[in-house]
């Protein structure tokens, strides 16, 4: 146990989780605030620093860089040393990265509200922050690559490490490509080809591989059984690595970008759906016969729900990317629903599952309340499903109204009921997350169990 304690830097994991959930609550709050503008009841109208346009960027950036990056880092600070058997390069470097990340997120938030946003979607981080983020990403790679490299000398690497290795390299390349090239060198349609890829690569080459890598670690560890098929794992990783960097242009279909790029992006996106199905089949077959876990194992419940949402997202992806469907749904709320399904329904769900698993071990305390877990889970799941359905339907309404040459204002008027439901469901999601965080906080107030027992041991039969 002592050995384990030194292997994983518990405080670092805890710090990233705490920072992550704080930014999650802030980010969700910003999203909720922004949604009120669509109902013409924005409370801070006319205030420059809280203009809805800026709050929207705060929403996406707080979620992407504040919540997801912090949460995923917490996950890999836990997983990498445990998989490899070696600690990360340096605890001090870990703390440097932690503080630099929080400062950069705060600078980004301040910069956006102050009016220094950059016109790159998902990369609105102000120009003066970008070089430091690049540097930070290199430091992260420096901290994690040594244990992975040492483990690779001992034996072939476990699946999770393929994903982590890929992500650590990709994110540096993606960030430099997306934030600097279209800003300084390449304008117009060619710039759009790069930005389109950046938008998707940030999801596909940072969040997705780290998320999947963590699933490949936590699911077998919690279930105490191996992944179903090694061949499917190989197919999943190499399929992702090959096709993902080629599909980002699907964000600019029917645009002035050369058509060969658009056609190939369609092919790559549909290929990704096949790859994702192999990965999910692998996980669902690993989980076979574990129906009980959905009732009484909280981490697995979050993971499994996230995977179901992921499959829906990717099936949707393969359909909506086609040039035919794009005619209707491009530029509409359909896409917004899709984005929420993947960023919240998949990766945030997985991270919350990971927190459910890790929090008792990190704090050496039992969870305060299982009832709160239930409320958090169902509020989030139902809230997200309702939001997804409302936005998807709104998207179809908007798309066909535009195609039908109705006055533009019709698409706004007819969307308001859907936007109202969206705001309500957003409220449900926030309530769920707040209960989750409250549960984390109340657990700290309980008596320590001495040694970190997990919820799994407490709630799983046998």
């Amino acid at each position: 146990m002592n050995h384990r304690g030194e292997l994983v830097y518990y405080n670092l994991v805890t710090a990233h989780i705490v920072a992550g959930v704080v930014f999650l609550v802030v980010g969700l709050g910003a999203g909720f605030l922004y949604s009120l503008q669509f109902l013409n009841s924005y409370p801070l109208g006319g205030v420059e620093f809280f203009s809805p346009g800026r709050i929207r960027m705060l929403h996406t950036n707080a979620i992407a860089y504040g919540w997801l990056v912090n949460g995923l880092l917490a996950g890999i600070y836990w997983a990498v040393p445990r998989i490899t058997g070696y600690p990360v390069l340096s605890r001090t470097l870990g703390w440097v990265i932690f503080f630099v990340l929080q400062i950069l997120v705060l600078l980004t938030a301040g910069g956006i509200l102050r009016g220094y946003a950059q016109a790159i979607e998902w990369g609105e981080t102000p120009l003066f922050v970008d070089p430091f983020i690049t540097l930070g990403l290199i430091l992260i790679a420096l901290n994690f690559i040594p244990p992975i490299l040492r483990a690779s000398r001992d034996a072939p690497m476990y699946v999770s490490l393929w994903y982590f290795t890929g992500a650590l390299v990709w994110v540096i390349l993606v960030y430099i490509m997306g934030n600097f090239v279209p800003q300084y060198y390449v304008p117009g349609a060619a710039g759009a080809a790069i930005v389109g890829n950046f938008i998707h690569d940030l999801v596909g080459l940072l969040v997705t591989p780290l998320g999947w890598g963590l699933m490949y670690f936590f699911v077998p560890v919690i279930l105490k059984r191996p992944i179903w098929s090694h061949s499917l794992s190989l197919m999943g990783f190499w399929g992702l690595a090959f096709f993902y960097p080629m599909q980002g242009l699907h964000h600019y279909m029917w645009s002035p970008v050369p058509m060969y790029v658009q056609y190939s992006a369609v092919v790559a996106t549909i290929a990704i759906e096949i790859v994702v199905t192999t990965v999910l089949a692998n996980f669902f077959l690993t989980l076979r016969g574990c129906g009980d876990f959905l009732r009484n194992n909280y981490p697995i419940r979050w993971f499994y729900t996230g995977m179901v949402f992921y499959w829906i997202t990717c099936l949707q992806c393969a359909i909506q990317v086609t040039l035919t469907v794009q005619k209707v749904i491009h530029f509409t709320d359909w896409v917004v629903g899709h984005a929420h399904l993947v960023m919240f329904g998949v990766f945030s769900f997985w991270l919350m599952g990971i927190i459910v698993e890790l929090w008792p071990r990190l704090t050496r305390r039992e969870w305060y309340s299982n009832t709160l877990h239930g409320w958090a889970y169902w509020l989030n799941t139902i809230g997200l499903t309702v939001m997804f359905l409302a936005l998807t339907m709104a998207g179809l309404v908007q798309g066909f109204l535009w195609w039908g040459l109705n006055p533009f204002m019709d698409s706004v008027r007819f969307s308001i009921p859907f936007w109202f439901v969206r705001t309500l469901s957003g409220g449900m999601i926030i309530a769920g997350v707040v209960l989750f965080v409250l549960n984390m906080y109340l657990s700290l107030q309980t008596e320590t169990t001495g040694e970190g027992r997990t919820l799994r041991a407490q709630t799983t039969a046998g």
Binding site: L161, G166, V186, G188, A190, A193, F331, G404
Partner: protein
Amino acid sequence: MDAKTDILIERFGFVFIVAGVGFFILGFIFQMLGPVLFLGNIPIRSVEEIAHEVPWQFRDLAEEYPEEFKRAFGSPTPETYAEALRLGRDIYIREGCWHCHSQYVRPVANEPLRYGPVSTASEYQNELQLPQLFGTRRVGPDLIREAGVHSNDWHIAHFYDPPSVEPGSIMPGYPWFYDEDGRPKKEALSIVTFVQWLGSWERR
């Protein structure tokens, strides 16, 4: 799969070089370098080149708001027009206009009927599209054919309080573009200039 390959592809070096660097560069060449080279023949125009000819909307602003215009820009010359375009574009970016308004007309879904001619790549080869402002969502209408659709006065009123000229609009107002008396400041004049420029080349 034989044992040797199996071991090789699961080592750090192979994953790092082939998946991490190799496939990324492959994607970059195919999906990004391609368009850059294809469109490389079209010269990239600077703002000064664009502003060579001052449009009537900019001169009209100088006539309609003489004091404010004089304070902000002086007189409507190519130099001040370039300055207004640059500032207008910066405001368009920092207020996040591009999150709710797209800037390209697609050849589908009756868009040419609604907005005007389909967009071509050459229209975007200029400094004001660095970074490009295609946009991915239309909460409000597309703006790439916006020049001349509305008058300057309409825009000045609209940026202050959109529902006042477009009932039911959910666009937020931007009162900080105006002084205490509701007269347009440099910001308001610039964003109107920028919006009146979008697609002006198609309106001649």
